[in-house]
Symmetry: C2
Subunit: 300 residues, 2 copies
Amino acid sequence: MTAAEPLIAGVELGGTKCIAVTARGREIASRAQWPTGDDPAATLATLADWLTAAHTAEPFAALGIASFGPLCLDPASADYGRIVNTPKPGWSGADVLGVLAGDLDVPVAIDTDVAGAALAEGRWGASQGCPVHVYLTIGTGIGGGIVVDGKPLHGTFHPEMGHVRVRRAAGDAFTGVCPIHGDCLEGLAAGPAIAARAGQPAEALGSDDPVWALVAGEVADCLASLILTLAPHRIVIGGGVGQGQPALLPLIHQAAARLLGGYLPGHSLAALKRVIVQPGLGGDAGVCGALALALTALER
Amino acid sequence: MTAAEPLIAGVELGGTKCIAVTARGREIASRAQWPTGDDPAATLATLADWLTAAHTAEPFAALGIASFGPLCLDPASADYGRIVNTPKPGWSGADVLGVLAGDLDVPVAIDTDVAGAALAEGRWGASQGCPVHVYLTIGTGIGGGIVVDGKPLHGTFHPEMGHVRVRRAAGDAFTGVCPIHGDCLEGLAAGPAIAARAGQPAEALGSDDPVWALVAGEVADCLASLILTLAPHRIVIGGGVGQGQPALLPLIHQAAARLLGGYLPGHSLAALKRVIVQPGLGGDAGVCGALALALTALER
């Protein structure tokens, strides 16, 4: 936040818009934004040109890229830093890392937008001081980022928590909207699923709409499994749906407590209210995520 | 494995028996075994006396303790190294770490039996070279250990994967045997649940018994969620039930592939057969786990 901090750069590559910034810490020095087009070569070239110009004007010390996915994040793979198998037209195979970082001789870190958001919440937001923490976005889609000891957790692939299957409420016959799984979490509880259930968009639904209890139950089913597996110190619920309806988070707390059944020490309803929380950062979660990734690259 | 390796000590504290060893690597130098009684003070004192005598005879460089749980593993807690809230009579609150390590001036590591087994599989067995790997035991109970970059993963608590809720096969009305959750994974698919379903013990059931498809489906439901969350490089299935019925693992592979629906790159049926595997170590998984923990303490 001070002039003594090094200048860094970040790119948030989202499904509809992309943003490039330079910053010190998360204090933005310069910023540009474009729509994410159907031609990845053109979109990425625009971003790369902006980065090159910014770097020429005042060199930055590291670059962070927070991108929509799925992404190949295995450094040993020939596809490292590329988009894989996305339904977004034209983007499957797009070489995000290669084009954006190719000409820059600085440390670069690339990860999913949600891993970036998780890192940012850990550095500046609601997950500060937490050794194990998660960021779950519930919006047009559902995705999660997991951070362990300051590092995004990946096995052979990054988390795809939106596609976890969840248990259904008794009698709920909604078939779900995920083209692959039908009733995975994203297919049941993301924005398009809520709209399909309710016949109107999530943001038009009142806090007493019965859809929220279903959504909360499904999200909580996923979170209860996550808690029994990782017991994160913090789980931040972001995204347009996650943050749009104030009634949702308390319903998630109640459903998670009911599912855990008091079994796990330290996970009473009161404790769950401290574990499962709203983001500490505002609307710039994506950009902050890219900057947090840049700082990770710098510190590596 | 060579005489040049330092002498280390390990304690496997199981629900029915406990074993203490000294070893170089995992080559046992001395070994003793006792039943785990209902009086933790007496059982732990016997173990502590053996350790003290062994250390006096030939000093060991580190101690690893692989214990049944639940265990408090938060070093900042006053309960660190104690058993918490166990249904095992008398053992709630037992100070495993304090009694066993109290008089020894050596590095000590304590973790769950399954975290130890996971570490051992990573060091010597089926998970060698894997950055993210899991050990899931299916026996009298179900439990999991997760290792990330050579370190057992804990958030505010160690994994309790046996209590994850899973989706049921259509029409399956078995209510489950877990006293807390009913139909969590352990309540549906561990040995006592299989016996309750089938009317006879798991080891008496033929490979074509229809119970195996149900068990495989429930285990696979948990593993599919785990894969979509952590994408482990390896998942080792151990335990009396997990290793007792050769037909089970192929059924788990098929069910997991069906549940993942081809969505996740690198998780075809053929790939899942390489990811979800039998243990590489034999019957001494518990002792190997304690020794792997001792080596972790030594290397820290």
